[in-house]
Protein backbone atom coordinates (compact mmCIF):
# COMPACT_ATOMS: atom_id res chain seq x y z
CA UNK A 1 0.00 0.00 0.00
CA UNK A 2 1.34 3.45 -0.88
CA UNK A 3 0.63 6.06 1.76
CA UNK A 4 1.19 9.78 1.33
CA UNK A 5 2.86 9.87 4.74
CA UNK A 6 4.97 6.78 5.34
CA UNK A 7 4.38 4.54 8.31
CA UNK A 8 6.96 4.34 11.08
CA UNK A 9 7.12 1.07 12.99
CA UNK A 10 9.03 1.32 16.26
CA UNK A 11 10.06 -0.99 19.06
CA UNK A 12 12.23 -0.87 22.15
CA UNK A 13 15.51 -2.46 23.20
CA UNK A 14 16.94 -2.37 26.73
CA UNK A 15 20.66 -3.07 26.27
CA UNK A 16 23.43 -3.86 23.82
CA UNK A 17 23.12 -7.62 24.27
CA UNK A 18 19.47 -7.44 23.23
CA UNK A 19 20.28 -5.15 20.33
CA UNK A 20 22.98 -7.47 19.02
CA UNK A 21 20.66 -10.47 19.34
CA UNK A 22 17.84 -8.75 17.48
CA UNK A 23 16.82 -8.78 13.88
CA UNK A 24 15.31 -5.34 13.58
CA UNK A 25 14.60 -5.50 9.85
CA UNK A 26 10.84 -4.79 10.21
CA UNK A 27 11.39 -1.63 12.23
CA UNK A 28 12.17 1.91 11.17
CA UNK A 29 13.12 3.26 14.59
CA UNK A 30 14.20 1.90 17.97
CA UNK A 31 13.70 3.28 21.48
CA UNK A 32 16.82 2.56 23.52
CA UNK A 33 16.79 1.84 27.25
CA UNK A 34 14.71 0.32 30.04
CA UNK A 35 12.54 3.08 31.50
CA UNK A 36 11.69 1.28 34.74
CA UNK A 37 14.89 0.50 36.61
CA UNK A 38 18.40 1.86 36.96
CA UNK A 39 19.66 -1.58 37.95
CA UNK A 40 18.45 -3.39 34.84
CA UNK A 41 21.43 -5.27 33.50
CA UNK A 42 23.56 -3.06 31.20
CA UNK A 43 20.63 -0.71 30.73
CA UNK A 44 21.43 1.74 27.93
CA UNK A 45 20.41 4.52 30.32
CA UNK A 46 23.33 3.61 32.60
CA UNK A 47 25.88 2.08 30.19
CA UNK A 48 26.45 5.23 28.20
CA UNK A 49 29.25 3.89 26.01
CA UNK A 50 26.84 1.14 24.95
CA UNK A 51 24.22 3.80 24.25
CA UNK A 52 26.61 5.67 21.93
CA UNK A 53 27.47 2.40 20.18
CA UNK A 54 23.78 1.54 19.77
CA UNK A 55 23.01 4.88 18.13
CA UNK A 56 25.89 4.30 15.71
CA UNK A 57 24.72 0.76 14.92
CA UNK A 58 21.18 1.90 14.23
CA UNK A 59 22.24 4.83 12.09
CA UNK A 60 24.56 2.58 10.11
CA UNK A 61 21.59 0.27 9.52
CA UNK A 62 19.50 3.20 8.27
CA UNK A 63 17.24 3.29 11.29
CA UNK A 64 16.33 6.07 13.67
CA UNK A 65 17.65 5.90 17.21
CA UNK A 66 15.44 7.26 19.98
CA UNK A 67 16.79 7.46 23.52
CA UNK A 68 14.29 6.73 26.27
CA UNK A 69 14.44 8.27 29.73
CA UNK A 70 13.26 6.98 33.09
CA UNK A 71 9.53 6.93 33.73
CA UNK A 72 9.71 8.03 37.37
CA UNK A 73 13.03 9.65 38.30
CA UNK A 74 13.55 10.99 41.81
CA UNK A 75 15.74 14.02 42.42
CA UNK A 76 18.93 11.95 42.94
CA UNK A 77 18.36 10.31 39.53
CA UNK A 78 18.38 13.57 37.60
CA UNK A 79 22.16 13.81 37.28
CA UNK A 80 22.15 10.49 35.40
CA UNK A 81 19.22 11.65 33.28
CA UNK A 82 21.29 14.70 32.29
CA UNK A 83 24.20 12.44 31.32
CA UNK A 84 21.87 10.36 29.15
CA UNK A 85 20.52 13.49 27.45
CA UNK A 86 24.08 14.70 26.86
CA UNK A 87 24.92 11.42 25.10
CA UNK A 88 21.69 11.61 23.11
CA UNK A 89 22.62 15.11 21.96
CA UNK A 90 26.28 14.44 21.15
CA UNK A 91 25.63 11.12 19.41
CA UNK A 92 22.92 12.79 17.33
CA UNK A 93 20.11 10.53 18.42
CA UNK A 94 16.97 11.27 16.47
CA UNK A 95 14.82 11.96 19.52
CA UNK A 96 14.45 11.41 23.24
CA UNK A 97 11.41 9.82 24.78
CA UNK A 98 10.22 11.71 27.87
CA UNK A 99 7.72 10.47 30.45
CA UNK A 100 8.40 12.93 33.23
CA UNK A 101 7.54 16.63 33.47
CA UNK A 102 10.85 17.54 35.07
CA UNK A 103 12.81 15.77 32.36
CA UNK A 104 10.86 17.70 29.74
CA UNK A 105 11.87 20.89 31.54
CA UNK A 106 15.54 19.83 31.51
CA UNK A 107 15.43 19.04 27.79
CA UNK A 108 13.70 22.32 26.95
CA UNK A 109 16.18 24.38 28.95
CA UNK A 110 19.46 22.51 28.59
CA UNK A 111 19.15 20.44 25.39
CA UNK A 112 16.79 22.45 23.18
CA UNK A 113 18.10 20.87 19.98
CA UNK A 114 16.79 17.42 20.97
CA UNK A 115 13.55 16.29 19.39
CA UNK A 116 11.09 15.18 22.07
CA UNK A 117 8.59 12.32 22.06
CA UNK A 118 6.26 12.27 25.07
CA UNK A 119 5.82 8.72 26.32
CA UNK A 120 2.79 6.96 27.75
CA UNK A 121 3.68 7.79 31.38
CA UNK A 122 3.54 11.51 30.56
CA UNK A 123 -0.21 11.16 31.14
CA UNK A 124 -1.69 12.84 28.09
CA UNK A 125 -5.45 12.49 28.61
CA UNK A 126 -6.58 15.78 27.10
CA UNK A 127 -5.93 18.04 24.14
CA UNK A 128 -4.97 20.69 26.69
CA UNK A 129 -2.01 18.67 27.94
CA UNK A 130 -0.98 17.54 24.48
CA UNK A 131 -1.00 21.14 23.26
CA UNK A 132 1.02 22.29 26.25
CA UNK A 133 3.66 19.64 25.56
CA UNK A 134 3.84 20.72 21.93
CA UNK A 135 4.30 24.34 23.04
CA UNK A 136 7.20 23.11 25.15
CA UNK A 137 8.82 21.39 22.22
CA UNK A 138 7.29 17.93 21.91
CA UNK A 139 7.01 16.66 18.34
CA UNK A 140 5.34 13.33 19.12
CA UNK A 141 2.78 12.30 21.72
CA UNK A 142 1.85 8.87 22.99
CA UNK A 143 -1.50 9.35 24.71
CA UNK A 144 -1.84 7.52 27.98
CA UNK A 145 -2.88 3.95 27.23
CA UNK A 146 -6.15 4.54 29.16
CA UNK A 147 -7.27 6.95 26.42
CA UNK A 148 -9.60 5.40 23.84
CA UNK A 149 -8.96 5.55 20.11
CA UNK A 150 -11.93 7.86 19.55
CA UNK A 151 -10.60 10.27 22.19
CA UNK A 152 -7.10 10.00 20.70
CA UNK A 153 -8.52 10.87 17.29
CA UNK A 154 -10.26 13.91 18.78
CA UNK A 155 -7.08 15.05 20.51
CA UNK A 156 -4.93 14.48 17.44
CA UNK A 157 -7.37 16.48 15.30
CA UNK A 158 -6.76 19.48 17.57
CA UNK A 159 -3.04 19.26 18.22
CA UNK A 160 -0.31 19.58 15.58
CA UNK A 161 1.90 16.63 16.49
CA UNK A 162 2.54 13.02 15.59
CA UNK A 163 0.60 10.55 17.72
CA UNK A 164 2.07 7.16 18.47
CA UNK A 165 -0.19 4.12 18.85
CA UNK A 166 0.67 0.85 20.57
CA UNK A 167 -0.01 -1.72 17.86
CA UNK A 168 1.06 -4.87 19.65
CA UNK A 169 2.69 -6.04 22.85
CA UNK A 170 2.30 -5.68 26.58
CA UNK A 171 1.17 -2.22 27.61
CA UNK A 172 2.64 -0.43 30.60
CA UNK A 173 0.19 -0.30 33.51
CA UNK A 174 2.37 1.12 36.26
CA UNK A 175 5.77 1.97 37.61
CA UNK A 176 6.95 1.63 41.17
CA UNK A 177 9.66 2.94 43.45
CA UNK A 178 10.51 -0.56 44.64
CA UNK A 179 11.12 -3.85 42.86
CA UNK A 180 8.28 -6.25 43.50
CA UNK A 181 10.34 -9.29 42.55
CA UNK A 182 13.03 -8.42 45.07
CA UNK A 183 10.50 -7.50 47.74
CA UNK A 184 9.59 -11.18 47.77
CA UNK A 185 13.19 -12.30 47.30
CA UNK A 186 13.36 -14.10 50.62
CA UNK A 187 10.66 -16.50 49.49
CA UNK A 188 11.34 -16.52 45.77
CA UNK A 189 15.11 -16.74 45.96
CA UNK A 190 15.47 -14.05 43.32
CA UNK A 191 18.30 -11.60 43.10
CA UNK A 192 19.12 -8.46 41.16
CA UNK A 193 19.81 -8.04 38.27
CA UNK A 194 18.70 -11.54 37.21
CA UNK A 195 15.16 -11.45 38.63
CA UNK A 196 13.52 -9.36 35.93
CA UNK A 197 15.23 -11.32 33.15
CA UNK A 198 12.79 -14.14 33.88
CA UNK A 199 9.07 -14.02 33.08
CA UNK A 200 6.84 -13.58 36.12
CA UNK A 201 3.08 -13.09 36.03
CA UNK A 202 0.73 -12.07 38.82
CA UNK A 203 -2.48 -14.07 38.54
CA UNK A 204 -5.86 -13.68 40.21
CA UNK A 205 -8.95 -15.50 39.00
CA UNK A 206 -9.28 -14.59 35.31
CA UNK A 207 -6.70 -11.85 34.94
CA UNK A 208 -2.95 -11.64 34.99
CA UNK A 209 -0.34 -8.90 34.98
CA UNK A 210 3.33 -9.20 34.10
CA UNK A 211 5.81 -8.01 36.70
CA UNK A 212 9.01 -6.46 35.42
CA UNK A 213 10.16 -5.72 38.95
CA UNK A 214 9.55 -1.98 39.12
CA UNK A 215 7.24 -2.03 36.13
CA UNK A 216 3.88 -3.71 35.64
CA UNK A 217 2.42 -4.49 32.23
CA UNK A 218 -0.65 -6.20 30.88
CA UNK A 219 -0.51 -9.98 31.02
CA UNK A 220 -2.03 -10.23 27.58
CA UNK A 221 -0.58 -8.75 24.43
CA UNK A 222 -2.42 -5.76 23.04
CA UNK A 223 -3.18 -6.86 19.48
CA UNK A 224 -4.47 -4.36 16.92
CA UNK A 225 -3.85 -6.46 13.81
CA UNK A 226 -7.53 -6.52 12.84
CA UNK A 227 -7.80 -2.77 13.20
CA UNK A 228 -4.90 -1.65 11.03
CA UNK A 229 -7.09 -0.34 8.19
CA UNK A 230 -9.10 1.74 10.68
CA UNK A 231 -5.94 3.14 12.25
CA UNK A 232 -4.50 4.09 8.86
CA UNK A 233 -7.81 5.59 7.75
CA UNK A 234 -7.80 7.73 10.90
CA UNK A 235 -4.46 9.12 9.84
CA UNK A 236 -2.18 7.31 12.26
CA UNK A 237 1.26 6.61 10.90
CA UNK A 238 3.45 5.94 13.95
CA UNK A 239 3.06 2.54 15.54
CA UNK A 240 4.87 0.80 18.34
CA UNK A 241 5.36 -2.88 18.98
CA UNK A 242 6.37 -3.14 22.63
CA UNK A 243 9.06 -5.76 23.10
CA UNK A 244 11.13 -4.49 26.02
CA UNK A 245 10.56 -7.72 27.96
CA UNK A 246 10.27 -10.11 25.02
CA UNK A 247 12.62 -12.48 23.19
CA UNK A 248 14.50 -11.51 20.02
CA UNK A 249 12.29 -13.98 18.13
CA UNK A 250 9.14 -12.25 19.36
CA UNK A 251 10.60 -8.89 18.36
CA UNK A 252 11.54 -9.87 14.81
CA UNK A 253 8.64 -12.21 13.95
CA UNK A 254 5.83 -10.09 15.39
CA UNK A 255 7.40 -7.06 13.74
CA UNK A 256 7.48 -8.89 10.42
CA UNK A 257 3.77 -9.74 10.69
CA UNK A 258 2.82 -6.12 11.24
CA UNK A 259 5.14 -4.75 8.57
CA UNK A 260 3.57 -7.19 6.12
CA UNK A 261 0.04 -6.38 7.29
CA UNK A 262 0.55 -2.62 6.98
CA UNK A 263 1.96 -3.04 3.48
CA UNK A 264 -1.15 -5.01 2.49
CA UNK A 265 -3.73 -2.76 4.09
CA UNK A 266 -5.32 -1.73 0.79
CA UNK A 267 -8.89 -0.46 1.16
CA UNK A 268 -11.24 -3.15 -0.09
CA UNK A 269 -8.52 -5.78 -0.38
CA UNK A 270 -7.66 -6.16 3.29
CA UNK A 271 -7.62 -9.75 4.43
CA UNK A 272 -5.86 -11.14 7.44
CA UNK A 273 -3.60 -14.08 6.68
CA UNK A 274 -4.02 -17.05 8.95
CA UNK A 275 -0.26 -17.40 9.14
CA UNK A 276 -0.11 -13.97 10.80
CA UNK A 277 -2.35 -15.24 13.59
CA UNK A 278 -0.19 -18.34 13.87
CA UNK A 279 2.91 -16.24 14.49
CA UNK A 280 1.18 -13.96 16.99
CA UNK A 281 -0.30 -16.93 18.86
CA UNK A 282 3.10 -18.59 19.03
CA UNK A 283 4.53 -15.61 20.85
CA UNK A 284 1.57 -14.85 23.10
CA UNK A 285 1.71 -16.74 26.37
CA UNK A 286 -1.50 -15.29 27.83
CA UNK A 287 -3.63 -14.32 24.85
CA UNK A 288 -4.65 -11.01 23.33
CA UNK A 289 -6.49 -7.87 24.33
CA UNK A 290 -7.16 -4.43 22.87
CA UNK A 291 -6.13 -2.43 25.87
CA UNK A 292 -8.30 0.60 26.43
CA UNK A 293 -8.65 1.53 22.77
CA UNK A 294 -12.34 0.71 22.55
CA UNK A 295 -13.35 2.07 25.95
CA UNK A 296 -13.70 -1.35 27.54
CA UNK A 297 -11.77 -3.21 30.22
CA UNK A 298 -8.18 -3.36 29.10
CA UNK A 299 -7.86 -7.14 29.14
CA UNK A 300 -10.72 -7.72 26.69
CA UNK A 301 -10.33 -8.46 23.03
CA UNK A 302 -12.81 -6.65 20.80
CA UNK A 303 -13.37 -8.13 17.37
CA UNK A 304 -15.92 -7.28 14.73
CA UNK A 305 -16.30 -10.93 13.74
CA UNK A 306 -16.18 -12.49 17.17
CA UNK A 307 -12.71 -13.91 16.70
CA UNK A 308 -11.57 -12.56 20.05
CA UNK A 309 -12.92 -15.40 22.12
CA UNK A 310 -11.32 -17.95 19.83
CA UNK A 311 -8.01 -16.11 19.93
CA UNK A 312 -7.90 -16.33 23.70
CA UNK A 313 -9.25 -19.87 23.91
Amino acid sequence: MTLKTPVELTTSVANLDALEASNLTPYHAIYLGNIYCRLYERNFLEALDDLRTAVEILHAAGKKAYVSTYAAPLTPDLDQVRRVLEVAATSQADAVEVHNLGVLRIVAQEFPSLRVHMGAFANVYTDLTARKFVELGAARITPNYEVSLSETDLISSRVPAEFEILLHGKMSLGVSESCFLLTGASTLGLSCPEACQEEYFLRYEDWELKSLGKGVTSGRDVCMLEHIPQLLASGHRVFRIETISETPAYQSEVGRVYADAIARAEPGLWRIKEEWWDVLRTHSSHGFCNGFYFGRSGRLYISANGAGAALNA
Partner: protein, 314 residues
Protein backbone atom coordinates in the same frame (compact mmCIF):
# COMPACT_ATOMS: atom_id res chain seq x y z
CA UNK B 1 3.33 28.65 59.24
CA UNK B 2 2.51 25.04 58.39
CA UNK B 3 -1.06 24.33 57.33
CA UNK B 4 -2.85 21.23 58.55
CA UNK B 5 -5.17 20.12 55.76
CA UNK B 6 -7.96 17.66 56.55
CA UNK B 7 -10.41 15.73 54.38
CA UNK B 8 -14.01 16.82 54.04
CA UNK B 9 -15.95 13.85 52.72
CA UNK B 10 -19.19 15.29 54.10
CA UNK B 11 -20.39 18.52 55.67
CA UNK B 12 -20.32 16.80 59.04
CA UNK B 13 -16.71 15.78 58.48
CA UNK B 14 -15.83 19.37 57.54
CA UNK B 15 -17.33 20.60 60.81
CA UNK B 16 -15.53 17.99 62.92
CA UNK B 17 -12.19 18.59 61.17
CA UNK B 18 -12.36 22.34 61.70
CA UNK B 19 -13.47 22.02 65.32
CA UNK B 20 -10.60 19.58 65.92
CA UNK B 21 -7.98 22.05 64.76
CA UNK B 22 -7.60 21.79 60.98
CA UNK B 23 -6.39 24.97 59.30
CA UNK B 24 -8.05 24.02 56.05
CA UNK B 25 -10.29 21.32 54.61
CA UNK B 26 -10.43 19.87 51.11
CA UNK B 27 -13.67 18.56 49.62
CA UNK B 28 -14.42 16.74 46.41
CA UNK B 29 -16.92 18.12 43.94
CA UNK B 30 -19.61 15.60 43.10
CA UNK B 31 -18.95 14.24 39.61
CA UNK B 32 -15.60 15.97 39.26
CA UNK B 33 -13.42 14.41 41.91
CA UNK B 34 -11.89 11.09 42.77
CA UNK B 35 -14.06 8.93 45.04
CA UNK B 36 -17.39 10.13 43.58
CA UNK B 37 -19.43 8.84 46.52
CA UNK B 38 -17.56 11.22 48.81
CA UNK B 39 -18.02 14.28 46.61
CA UNK B 40 -20.18 17.18 47.81
CA UNK B 41 -23.13 18.66 45.95
CA UNK B 42 -23.30 22.40 45.35
CA UNK B 43 -25.51 23.11 48.42
CA UNK B 44 -23.14 21.04 50.55
CA UNK B 45 -20.14 22.92 49.18
CA UNK B 46 -21.85 26.20 50.08
CA UNK B 47 -22.45 24.90 53.62
CA UNK B 48 -18.85 23.72 53.96
CA UNK B 49 -17.59 27.08 52.73
CA UNK B 50 -19.60 28.90 55.37
CA UNK B 51 -18.33 26.57 58.10
CA UNK B 52 -14.74 27.23 57.12
CA UNK B 53 -14.98 30.97 56.59
CA UNK B 54 -17.00 31.49 59.77
CA UNK B 55 -13.97 30.12 61.62
CA UNK B 56 -11.42 32.04 59.49
CA UNK B 57 -10.22 28.78 57.98
CA UNK B 58 -9.88 27.74 54.36
CA UNK B 59 -11.82 25.45 52.06
CA UNK B 60 -10.22 23.87 49.00
CA UNK B 61 -12.07 21.94 46.33
CA UNK B 62 -10.70 18.87 44.57
CA UNK B 63 -11.71 18.60 40.91
CA UNK B 64 -9.19 15.87 40.26
CA UNK B 65 -11.11 13.78 37.77
CA UNK B 66 -9.68 14.83 34.42
CA UNK B 67 -12.29 16.22 31.99
CA UNK B 68 -12.60 14.72 28.53
CA UNK B 69 -11.65 16.96 25.66
CA UNK B 70 -15.33 17.83 25.05
CA UNK B 71 -15.93 18.58 28.74
CA UNK B 72 -13.41 21.39 29.07
CA UNK B 73 -15.97 24.20 28.89
CA UNK B 74 -18.23 22.49 31.42
CA UNK B 75 -15.28 22.03 33.77
CA UNK B 76 -14.23 25.65 33.47
CA UNK B 77 -17.77 26.88 34.03
CA UNK B 78 -17.89 24.98 37.32
CA UNK B 79 -14.52 26.33 38.43
CA UNK B 80 -15.58 29.90 37.66
CA UNK B 81 -18.73 29.40 39.72
CA UNK B 82 -16.80 28.14 42.75
CA UNK B 83 -14.25 30.91 42.41
CA UNK B 84 -17.09 33.43 42.62
CA UNK B 85 -18.30 31.69 45.77
CA UNK B 86 -14.92 32.42 47.31
CA UNK B 87 -13.19 29.05 47.57
CA UNK B 88 -9.63 29.27 48.80
CA UNK B 89 -8.08 26.91 46.30
CA UNK B 90 -8.58 24.20 43.71
CA UNK B 91 -6.83 20.83 43.40
CA UNK B 92 -6.41 19.58 39.82
CA UNK B 93 -4.90 16.44 38.37
CA UNK B 94 -3.74 17.29 34.85
CA UNK B 95 -1.17 19.77 33.66
CA UNK B 96 -3.29 20.95 30.75
CA UNK B 97 -6.17 21.63 33.12
CA UNK B 98 -3.79 23.35 35.53
CA UNK B 99 -2.57 25.65 32.80
CA UNK B 100 -6.10 26.32 31.53
CA UNK B 101 -7.46 27.34 34.95
CA UNK B 102 -4.40 29.44 35.70
CA UNK B 103 -4.84 31.34 32.43
CA UNK B 104 -8.55 31.97 33.06
CA UNK B 105 -8.45 32.60 36.81
CA UNK B 106 -4.92 33.70 37.69
CA UNK B 107 -5.97 34.74 41.18
CA UNK B 108 -7.28 31.31 42.19
CA UNK B 109 -4.68 29.32 44.18
CA UNK B 110 -4.10 26.00 42.45
CA UNK B 111 -2.70 22.78 43.84
CA UNK B 112 -1.12 20.21 41.52
CA UNK B 113 -2.55 16.92 42.77
CA UNK B 114 -0.23 14.07 43.62
CA UNK B 115 -1.67 12.56 40.45
CA UNK B 116 0.22 15.17 38.43
CA UNK B 117 3.21 13.00 39.25
CA UNK B 118 5.71 15.33 40.92
CA UNK B 119 8.64 13.24 42.12
CA UNK B 120 11.68 15.45 41.75
CA UNK B 121 12.82 19.04 41.98
CA UNK B 122 12.45 19.65 38.24
CA UNK B 123 8.85 18.40 38.37
CA UNK B 124 8.11 20.97 41.07
CA UNK B 125 9.64 23.74 38.97
CA UNK B 126 7.65 22.59 35.95
CA UNK B 127 4.35 22.61 37.84
CA UNK B 128 5.14 25.95 39.44
CA UNK B 129 5.69 27.41 35.97
CA UNK B 130 2.30 25.99 34.93
CA UNK B 131 0.64 27.99 37.68
CA UNK B 132 0.65 25.66 40.68
CA UNK B 133 0.82 27.55 43.95
CA UNK B 134 1.10 24.22 45.76
CA UNK B 135 2.67 20.97 44.62
CA UNK B 136 1.48 17.81 46.37
CA UNK B 137 4.22 15.23 46.85
CA UNK B 138 3.96 11.45 47.25
CA UNK B 139 5.24 9.51 50.26
CA UNK B 140 8.35 8.47 48.30
CA UNK B 141 9.79 11.97 48.58
CA UNK B 142 12.21 12.20 51.50
CA UNK B 143 13.05 15.27 53.61
CA UNK B 144 16.34 15.49 51.72
CA UNK B 145 14.38 15.77 48.46
CA UNK B 146 12.11 18.36 50.04
CA UNK B 147 15.15 20.40 51.09
CA UNK B 148 16.33 20.57 47.48
CA UNK B 149 12.85 21.42 46.25
CA UNK B 150 12.49 24.14 48.88
CA UNK B 151 15.80 25.67 47.85
CA UNK B 152 14.91 25.72 44.16
CA UNK B 153 11.20 26.45 44.05
CA UNK B 154 8.83 29.02 45.45
CA UNK B 155 5.76 26.79 45.31
CA UNK B 156 4.22 25.53 48.52
CA UNK B 157 5.13 21.91 49.18
CA UNK B 158 2.54 19.53 50.55
CA UNK B 159 3.07 16.03 51.94
CA UNK B 160 0.77 13.31 53.21
CA UNK B 161 1.12 12.62 56.92
CA UNK B 162 -1.56 9.95 56.94
CA UNK B 163 -2.56 7.92 53.94
CA UNK B 164 -2.22 4.90 51.80
CA UNK B 165 1.11 3.55 50.62
CA UNK B 166 0.63 1.67 47.36
CA UNK B 167 3.14 -0.22 45.26
CA UNK B 168 2.65 1.85 42.12
CA UNK B 169 3.43 5.58 42.02
CA UNK B 170 0.26 7.64 42.36
CA UNK B 171 -0.68 9.08 38.99
CA UNK B 172 1.11 6.28 37.20
CA UNK B 173 -1.15 3.31 37.94
CA UNK B 174 -3.51 2.06 35.25
CA UNK B 175 -4.00 -1.48 36.53
CA UNK B 176 -7.63 -1.30 37.77
CA UNK B 177 -9.13 -0.53 34.38
CA UNK B 178 -7.24 -3.41 32.84
CA UNK B 179 -9.27 -5.72 35.04
CA UNK B 180 -12.57 -3.85 34.91
CA UNK B 181 -13.62 -0.58 33.40
CA UNK B 182 -16.98 0.94 32.61
CA UNK B 183 -18.52 4.24 31.67
CA UNK B 184 -20.93 5.82 34.13
CA UNK B 185 -22.94 8.95 33.47
CA UNK B 186 -23.30 11.44 36.30
CA UNK B 187 -25.89 14.18 36.06
CA UNK B 188 -24.42 17.58 36.78
CA UNK B 189 -27.05 20.28 36.58
CA UNK B 190 -28.34 20.02 33.03
CA UNK B 191 -25.29 18.14 31.85
CA UNK B 192 -24.34 14.50 31.86
CA UNK B 193 -20.73 13.74 32.61
CA UNK B 194 -19.17 10.43 31.72
CA UNK B 195 -16.92 8.97 34.39
CA UNK B 196 -14.66 6.07 33.56
CA UNK B 197 -15.00 3.75 36.50
CA UNK B 198 -11.73 1.90 36.91
CA UNK B 199 -9.57 4.86 35.91
CA UNK B 200 -8.09 6.88 38.75
CA UNK B 201 -7.57 9.78 36.37
CA UNK B 202 -10.86 9.73 34.51
CA UNK B 203 -13.37 8.60 37.06
CA UNK B 204 -11.65 8.30 40.33
CA UNK B 205 -12.86 4.88 41.30
CA UNK B 206 -10.16 2.34 41.88
CA UNK B 207 -10.98 -1.33 42.28
CA UNK B 208 -7.97 -1.77 44.56
CA UNK B 209 -6.82 -4.82 42.68
CA UNK B 210 -3.51 -4.48 44.49
CA UNK B 211 -5.32 -5.57 47.66
CA UNK B 212 -6.11 -9.06 46.46
CA UNK B 213 -4.01 -12.04 47.33
CA UNK B 214 -2.71 -13.44 44.05
CA UNK B 215 -0.19 -15.90 42.68
CA UNK B 216 3.19 -14.99 41.28
CA UNK B 217 4.04 -17.55 38.63
CA UNK B 218 7.20 -17.87 36.64
CA UNK B 219 10.35 -19.84 36.05
CA UNK B 220 8.48 -23.04 36.89
CA UNK B 221 7.36 -21.87 40.32
CA UNK B 222 4.26 -20.33 41.90
CA UNK B 223 4.01 -18.34 45.11
CA UNK B 224 1.09 -16.82 46.95
CA UNK B 225 1.69 -13.11 47.26
CA UNK B 226 0.15 -9.68 47.02
CA UNK B 227 1.36 -6.26 46.00
CA UNK B 228 2.60 -4.04 48.87
CA UNK B 229 -0.39 -2.09 50.17
CA UNK B 230 -0.74 -0.52 53.60
CA UNK B 231 -1.73 2.57 55.49
CA UNK B 232 0.94 4.82 56.95
CA UNK B 233 1.34 7.77 59.23
CA UNK B 234 4.30 10.04 59.87
CA UNK B 235 5.13 10.91 63.44
CA UNK B 236 8.77 10.85 64.59
CA UNK B 237 10.06 12.12 61.23
CA UNK B 238 7.56 14.94 61.01
CA UNK B 239 10.16 17.32 62.40
CA UNK B 240 12.55 16.43 59.57
CA UNK B 241 9.92 17.27 56.98
CA UNK B 242 9.02 20.52 58.75
CA UNK B 243 12.70 21.45 58.98
CA UNK B 244 13.08 20.68 55.26
CA UNK B 245 10.40 23.23 54.53
CA UNK B 246 7.06 21.56 53.84
CA UNK B 247 4.19 24.03 53.95
CA UNK B 248 1.15 21.79 54.15
CA UNK B 249 0.44 18.50 55.89
CA UNK B 250 -2.40 16.55 54.34
CA UNK B 251 -4.48 13.88 56.00
CA UNK B 252 -5.86 11.52 53.37
CA UNK B 253 -9.28 9.97 53.91
CA UNK B 254 -12.50 11.48 52.63
CA UNK B 255 -13.89 7.97 53.05
CA UNK B 256 -13.14 7.85 56.80
CA UNK B 257 -15.73 8.60 59.45
CA UNK B 258 -15.92 12.15 60.84
CA UNK B 259 -14.87 10.80 64.24
CA UNK B 260 -11.73 9.23 62.77
CA UNK B 261 -10.84 12.41 60.94
CA UNK B 262 -11.37 14.34 64.18
CA UNK B 263 -8.93 12.05 66.00
CA UNK B 264 -6.32 12.38 63.25
CA UNK B 265 -6.61 16.15 63.19
CA UNK B 266 -6.26 16.37 66.96
CA UNK B 267 -3.14 14.15 66.80
CA UNK B 268 -1.43 16.28 64.16
CA UNK B 269 -2.57 19.52 65.79
CA UNK B 270 -0.86 18.27 68.95
CA UNK B 271 2.33 17.49 66.98
CA UNK B 272 2.32 20.77 65.10
CA UNK B 273 1.77 22.85 68.20
CA UNK B 274 4.75 21.20 69.88
CA UNK B 275 6.96 19.84 67.07
CA UNK B 276 9.99 19.55 69.34
CA UNK B 277 8.08 17.59 71.92
CA UNK B 278 6.51 14.60 70.13
CA UNK B 279 4.38 12.22 72.18
CA UNK B 280 6.45 9.84 74.24
CA UNK B 281 5.77 6.99 76.65
CA UNK B 282 2.16 6.52 77.63
CA UNK B 283 0.96 9.40 75.49
CA UNK B 284 2.63 7.89 72.42
CA UNK B 285 1.07 4.48 73.11
CA UNK B 286 -2.36 6.01 73.47
CA UNK B 287 -2.03 7.86 70.19
CA UNK B 288 -0.66 4.86 68.29
CA UNK B 289 -3.57 2.77 69.54
CA UNK B 290 -6.01 5.44 68.44
CA UNK B 291 -4.41 5.73 64.99
CA UNK B 292 -4.38 1.98 64.43
CA UNK B 293 -8.10 1.87 65.07
CA UNK B 294 -8.61 4.37 62.27
CA UNK B 295 -6.91 2.64 59.36
CA UNK B 296 -9.24 1.09 56.82
CA UNK B 297 -6.75 -0.44 54.37
CA UNK B 298 -4.18 -2.99 55.38
CA UNK B 299 -2.07 -2.55 58.46
CA UNK B 300 -1.04 0.86 59.70
CA UNK B 301 2.70 1.41 59.92
CA UNK B 302 4.69 4.44 60.85
CA UNK B 303 6.67 5.68 57.89
CA UNK B 304 10.22 6.40 58.97
CA UNK B 305 13.47 7.28 57.30
CA UNK B 306 16.07 4.61 57.03
CA UNK B 307 19.77 5.31 57.41
CA UNK B 308 20.06 6.23 53.74
CA UNK B 309 17.47 8.95 53.83
CA UNK B 310 14.84 6.91 52.02
CA UNK B 311 11.39 6.39 53.45
CA UNK B 312 10.90 2.91 54.80
CA UNK B 313 8.50 1.12 57.03
CA UNK B 314 9.09 1.00 60.76
Amino acid sequence: MTTLLAPGGSVDMVRVALDSGADAVYCGVKGWSRYPSHGLSNPEIADALHLAHDRDRKLLLAMNSVPRTKETDLFLERVERYALWGIDGLIVNDIGVLDLVHQHLPGLPLSASVGCGALNVEDVLFLEAMGAETVILPWTVSPADVTRMRAAAGAHLEIFVFGLKEHIHLGRCYMPGYVQRMEKTVRLDDHGRSLVVGSAKQGGVCYRICKVGCVLAGNGTTHSTRLPYESFFICRDLGAYLHAGVDLLKIQGRDLTPASVGALVRFYRRLLDAPNDPPRGKEASTWQQALRSITRYGELHELQLDGFGNPSRA
